[in-house]
Symmetry: D2
Subunit: 352 residues, 4 copies
């Protein structure tokens, strides 16, 4: 950490800053420039915080030199983490696609969705049983019944399931119903008590980026989970909030490139929530893959116009299968491949 | 709700939209323009959602005409709501000031803080026992012990207390320790399960605005609480996230003016978190009051440089008392007044 | 400037950074920490730029310690600048109000506007003869004829005029028609050729903040003008662009407080463009004044519903006079006053 | 246009709105709902503006149904525009790459840059002779001398040139030196006088997106150029300003997909300015191509650490050639191809 003193700071003020650094167990290095004196704290600066120094007399500002995250940082863990979800590997060279409807509605809907997901060759299924809705009057999800429907539909094709946990009190139900991947949604990225709890279980977690969370805040949220002992964390970019109103969110592909450098954790992209319209999903999926995503999270519904939630962003099974073919070609051009279930793809191809 | 059809939309597509509106129990009004056909839904459009229409063939886009909030809307409840907190009224002509440290540290610290708050004449006390921290390695709050320290310190001066609830599992402890006002923090504004729970209790709630929440999302979060039966809700603007990096957040005074028009709920402003620096607090407090705030939430610490959290934004008791005097003069110029505890102010004035 | 080396940087890489610092004429100060080596450049770091170091091998990142602006910085010019506009002083304790219509339409409209402005006691008049419009099909302003109408209308009451310059080729016409204050609009804040030209003339300049300009970029734009020799610069906050869609812009009152600390230049606020609605103007004007603004720029039109531009944000002369009274009371509570033309105010008061 | 009346609006107020619509030559269609009366304007609503109605008594708000742009809209011009720059086609199936240094420095630097650009097979060359710099003390570009250097260097390989015009007074020099494509930079996107002037010449224009310009504002800026008679317009996405500070800008790939639907104009992406770091350029280039970009604008410098401007974002000729190979593979997977100069690529491949 560097503390920048005000131009008129005197020796007593410099000494007070030095004392506070030493009190925290770090060494001090003073540099007297022509316009400012800088005081460096030598040692593990993660014990320090700018607010320890900024209110002291004579201090102009102080700043960290190191990034605040450690367990999730690539600096401290060079090899990329590969998360194994019931045998499906996320973070390896092969790219995974997680697909399914926004929300669980009925067993027939989920069965049809699972058929479409599997037929296109995706190896993981998603579906929301607990839904974070802006309006208290909107459909709030099927709850535990929805978990069962999702699990049953996916089991017919051997697909591990991904579903969102909103309330810490439901974690036991998630464990009991053997949810394969717990998703922490955008609005809960900094629900720290929830992060602490999923940090204590042995289930992989997808941590979605908060709507306006910086990379640093997002990685610190992941650090909460890792600090609890659960290192099977995947980050999911889902579009950020900006000034633009022509589309719901701005898919931040720069974040994908930056995350691959800053952290060893796998990076997933959700192109469906980002754009908010089904017609944007293919272009955004391709862009995400090209930017380096390890997996995609795509909404697929057997009949989008009838969907109870986010109807406008789901692909039909046919559109999804066509997109999988396109992604496959793109992945090969990038030296990767889509990890597809071979047999079912074949039959799907026949059916098209 | 208005559904705008694509220029090439045919009669069958128009009929399908009409059918869907009627199926929801509303009437239909069609307007054929020179470039577009518009279909209006006549009735309670809150039953409808753009995503019910946008995926239908021939639809360009659809839009709500009415605001989505109802219980919290001034349109449906013209009189301003006044929330009574143990006899202290928020939302009336007299302006309240809620003051205290960012976090509860020790009983002596809380006692000194309470003395300073009371001496300056504020009628409510704040203090965080559960702290939402970006880093898992930072001080996370004193927990239930902190609640007790806050309650005890405030009780000596008869000050009702305001403190943040982060985890739904702690709600019983809040009730047991007779927390007078439950604060829902920025990061939990859309923690819908938490909102539902505080909607079921009979304790006033301060709902802070999410870091990048729109007015509409914020009021819908308040609607969650109101829909549960708890109508003693206060909104607190605390700065929004923008592109600017010279200060932590941008205090959105326009929101204050807009909220006073859109909702009947009291509007509070937190100038301390908004700016992030103690020296900004007086200017931002004055601006908030001038914009129409019903209350201010100000951080005061007996010794800011020693604070365990947000040290750089707390006022000393002396600075706070001086600010109260300034706010008082300003309030009178605006035709309002600061609701101050007369006797203690006098002794404070003597002490200065 | 501090250059942070990567953890694995070797001696040769450190030496290369040192050499580059010395080549620019500065001294070097190396600090070897436990996790990083830091290299400090001692001397006038304004000669250096992070991009001189960031591409060098072994460099992690580099950062300025000093602010980039100098002529406009309070650090180098402690006393507040007072800009004298034909005898009207902006930046002193007395607060100025600049009022008038968004755009110059006709001579009768301008005469009526000037009457209203003067009657309420404002001492400067605004009006746009050249209009930056989002649409090429919208009214683009009356041009030089408009300058004459504005000048004539204002002259009847001895009001100096403020009007926007968009095109560097019109500067001579502005000088010829004796425009008292040249306004540089939001969209031209970084039109550097225009800034250079107004830096060469002896006419005060109001520099509006770009829609998403940081404080630093804004002050550097002012530095362009100052570097040309024109030090009569005033900064005008007019709302920034954010994610919020419920109102046009977010008036950034925090910027007012920060600017008063960072620069010696006067700070003006335009509450009319910020909110975009006439009903918001009183609240935003009061907030701006309370935050420390030296002047306000308020739209007044003799008949707002008939205005050719921004009709929805102009006050009527009556509303404006009432606001002036309110601002006056507020200014006194803040230890300032509104600089009002006494005689005409009296007659206006009689007329109400 | 739809005008929404307030719930309490009476017949006289509705009649006033109707009268104003009819006065503009449009028909009226009234729809009386259960909570609001809506008044539709039937005809060319581009003659109307919300501000014509919002200030009228009884009006709640009014909104456009149609997009404001016309000449640049795909709705009115279904076929994609292909801009021919001295025989190089932008907007067709083959993707173009425009490469070169940020700024023109010396003739040897430009010659070396041109060699690298041509060797990698790019068909257009960029270089800045007039530089928009945040600081008045930074290098401002070589001016007209720079134009000559760029033209000469590019001519040796038959590359048409792209360079930025900042000042309307330099347009004649641009025409005289036969600049092949005029670039309008981010900071000048709404410099309307500049747009009008380039609208009058017969030279293709690249219009970069303003740092926080919406899609609608951007297309309206293009409409300014088109309205002047120049239809050879290309749009260039270069990253937008957001809350994120970990990288300079957020490359908005969603904009690419949306623009391809909204407008018939070619869409270019500048991955170099977006990320601000050379190591990000490959990932962002691939993402842009995958999202549907028609061309890329990439910074290449013979020796990036020695560049006078934006040194940290330029690729070396070798890195650029490798990227071209990668883009080529990707383009083929997308059913497109990179338009590369065959012969020189061959020799470049040999040289690697």
């Amino acid at each position: 950490m560097i503390i920048v003193m005000q131009p008129e700071a005197g020796e007593a003020e410099i000494a007070a800053v030095e004392a506070r650094i030493r009190a925290a167990g770090l060494d001090v290095h003073v540099s007297r420039g022509t316009e400012r004196t800088l005081i460096g704290a030598v040692g593990d600066e993660r014990k320090l915080d700018p607010e320890m120094f900024d209110p002291l007399p004579g201090v102009e500002r102080s700043m960290h030199i190191l990034k605040p995250y450690k367990l999730v940082a690539r600096e401290w863990h060079k090899a990329s983490t590969i998360v194994d979800v019931a045998g499906v590997k996320i973070g390896a060279n092969a790219v995974q696609v997680i697909a399914g409807p926004c929300s669980v509605e009925t067993q027939p809907q989920m069965d049809a969705a699972a058929d479409g997901v599997a037929a296109a060759g995706a190896r993981l299924m998603r579906g929301g049983a607990f839904k974070p809705r802006t309006s208290p009057y909107a459909f709030q999800g099927k709850g535990v019944d929805g978990l069962c429907m999702l699990k049953d539909a996916a089991a017919r094709h051997g697909l591990p399931i991904v579903t969102e946990l909103m309330d810490v009190r439901m974690l036991d139900a998630f464990l009991e119903h053997k949810v394969d991947v717990i998703q922490i949604g955008t609005r809960n990225m900094q629900n720290f008590d929830l992060l602490k709890e999923v940090g204590r279980v042995d289930v992989p977690v997808i941590l979605k980026r908060g709507m306006s969370a910086t990379i640093s805040e997002w990685l610190m949220a992941a650090e909460y989970i890792a600090a609890g002992g659960n290192h099977r964390i995947m980050l999911c970019e889902r579009g950020i909030r900006t000034f633009e109103t022509a589309y719901r969110n701005v898919l931040d592909v720069t974040a994908v490139a930056v995350l691959k450098r800053e952290t060893h954790l796998p990076v997933i992209v959700d192109p469906s929530h980002a754009g908010g319209k089904a017609w944007m999903v293919p272009a955004l999926s391709c862009a995400a893959l090209a930017a380096g995503a390890d997996a995609l999270l795509i909404e697929v519904h057997p009949c989008p116009p009838e969907a109870w939630c986010d109807a406008d962003q789901a692909l039909t099974p046919g559109e999804f299968a066509a997109l999988m073919d396109k992604l496959d070609a793109l992945a090969h051009a990038l030296g990767r491949r889509i990890d597809r279930r071979a047999a079912e793809v074949e039959s799907a191809a026949l059916a098209r």
